[in-house]
Symmetry: C2
Subunit: 385 residues, 2 copies
């Protein structure tokens, strides 16, 4: 039985050395020894967020950090603008509603990116908007939103800037301080290539000023406690953290430091380009507008006449490669190729080849090798390979 290749947008393959670190003996989470690991992990997180502000790890899914980002800045009825162009944009809106906020929705067609000007117009018309949420990399559609441009607009407004980089941090450009981001969240299991179950958040001084005047909707996700306990000597988490996952996170983040954040991001961008070129050469159509397509996940329209079950089922069962399906109204209409974390050209090449064989096997008129050639050609033409 060969190992399955996960080409999904998280969780991603975890390196053996990270798994090995994870299986170290459990230690007291309130000890100087553990504090060192915690501090080191949080400092590396801040470095990867590219911020001078501290970062905190939260034991939970990425969604827990999304809630911590929103639930700690909204009092009952506070207005928040949620940019919604996919499932995770929608999630921010649902969280805003669930935590007592009064959300304004800026709808963006799925597969396209937000126009920053639209955000500016809404802010001009609604001076009382307390925060704007945006998903950097919309995992459900394979679109990257222009968070730097939006940040340039938002610096002229009081509204806090909240960005979800769950599926982009470590795989695409995210410079929290340079982009004027107030609260940025991410998850362990995507581009960071650690096992799932841990999230991270960073918070600006402006955001703390707001947070200090808000009653958090949640006890567990009250971010003030993470700050308070983080400042203890030795540093602590408010509740028993996932000790093993902290070991894993530290190791995974160390691997990012060794590779170099910039090289890692270039590697992701190149994998994305190779994937898009391969897919197009096979004759498939991209779902997302190509000029705003994601560095970490590519959404592809399901070819006419084949079911998701047959396509992805064959890829998985016959070729040992797991792709992701579409979410919500895209279910059955798109499939998604994740190329995040520790993905190399080998994974892209085999995925293209398996895609060709799968489609040929399902009766499509496919010339084997064309997708592979396009992907390989992209690689060898690149300065970053």
């Amino acid at each position: 039985m060969e190992e399955t290749l996960l080409m999904i947008p998280g969780p991603t393959k975890v390196a053996p050395r990270v798994l090995k670190a994870m299986s170290d003996a459990i230690m007291n989470h309130r000890s100087a020894e553990f504090a060192e690991i915690l501090v080191e992990t949080n400092e590396m997180m801040a470095e990867i967020f590219q911020t001078e502000n501290p970062a905190y790890t939260i034991t939970g899914s990425g969604t827990a950090a999304m809630e911590a980002a929103v639930g700690n800045i909204l009092n009952k009825g506070d207005k928040i603008l949620n940019v919604v162009g996919g499932k995770f944009g929608e999630r921010f809106l649902q969280i805003a509603r669930a935590t007592g906020g009064s959300p304004l929705e800026l709808k963006v067609e799925w597969g396209t990116a937000v126009n920053p000007k639209d955000i500016e117009n809404i802010l001009d018309d609604n001076k009382d908007i307390k925060a704007v949420t945006i998903v950097h990399n919309e995992t459900s559609t394979g679109v990257t939103n222009p968070i730097e441009e939006v940040g340039n607009i938002l610096k002229n407004y009081d509204a806090l800037y909240v960005v979800d980089t769950v599926s982009s941090l470590g795989g695409d450009d995210v410079a929290v301080d340079d982009y004027n981001i107030d609260i940025c969240v991410t998850g362990s299991q995507k581009c960071l290539a650690a096992p799932p179950g841990m999230a991270a958040i960073t918070v600006s001084d402006d955001a703390w000023n707001v947070i200090d005047k808000v009653d958090s909707n949640s006890y567990y996700l009250d971010i003030r406690k993470y700050k308070k306990y983080g400042n203890n000597k030795p540093a602590e988490t408010p509740y028993t953290p996932s000790v093993s996952l902290m070991y894993a996170m530290r190791e995974a983040l160390s691997m990012i430091m060794e590779e170099g954040l910039e090289s890692r991001i270039e590697r992701h961008k190149l994998a994305a380009e190779a994937t898009r070129n391969g897919v197009k050469a096979i004759g498939l159509e991209l779902f997302a507008q190509e000029d705003v397509s994601s560095a970490t996940v590519t959404a592809v329209k399901m070819p006419e006449g084949v079911s998701d079950k047959d396509m992805r089922g064959t890829m998985r069962d016959k070729y040992g490669i797991v792709l992701a399906g579409g979410q919500d109204h895209l279910k059955g209409n798109v499939f998604r190729i994740g190329h995040m974390g520790n993905i190399t050209y080998k994974d892209i090449i085999t995925t293209m080849s398996a895609l060709e064989m799968t489609l040929k096997g399902l009766g499509f008129n496919i010339e084997l090798g064309k997708g592979v050639a396009a992907a390989a050609g992209t690689y060898i033409a690149s300065d970053h390979f």
Copy 2:
């Protein structure tokens, strides 16, 4: 460097086979293969809770499950009775307040258990109490509350019965259905002996009837979603779960099944008895009233004339055994010996011996071997050894 022995009330030592299971390759969390692991884990959880109702795992600390237990049953201003006789009883009260409830506090002296009659009286005087929370095993004081007796009272009232068994499930008697418990929560890292970072919850039909009429305070901890996704085919979690911890949980729970829940509980009770007898033979004083003392953690008064730093520091640095300190106003006044999870007589014996040597080294008039003899004597006198 020898391995440190963790004698703290969680996280506890994790068996090599659990660590090994945890380091298996990451899989797609929305696959039939993972669903099997999820279902098996949740089913074993329900069996250990001794309930016919389904159990759900939550990616988070035990506190996350405590919040899920309370935040999902309270609308703004709903009255809830919180029994508070230690730090974790207090936590339930704080969570009730943070999630919009209007808590009534039943104060119980730290080190003693609640008198069920007091709960009955309060319920008679306050017909509008929607729920009662109680911590089964108060980790901060080493007291076990009489959850069966309280359950017998609560079946005559409409109030929901919410019990925290974070530090008792798998180490002391918890029969959710027999005790009429509506919502029961636990954590992975105590008696279950899995790594920290996962929590579990089970919910009765009566509780679901309430939950369905309540707006959860939290999006992440909205328990209805865990039910909904758990019922999907294949079963899922609402958000990316901690895949590696799920592997670990399944393995740890399998070990409980192999040992047998009853034997495991007897093993814990015996370890507790041996610890108490050992500690007393050394000449130390128990903090908790002995007839309500915990099966999983023993709180001991710090002997006069020695600092927590010297006592626990020596135990840790010279003897390689980590004990827990006191919490809140007990800081420096008690130390706590955790005897939960995969603890055997060997661990109790060495802890007693190290305790004797530590105190002797710190200038106390200690006769080496007396504590050990009392602990060993307890073991050989038992039918369960």
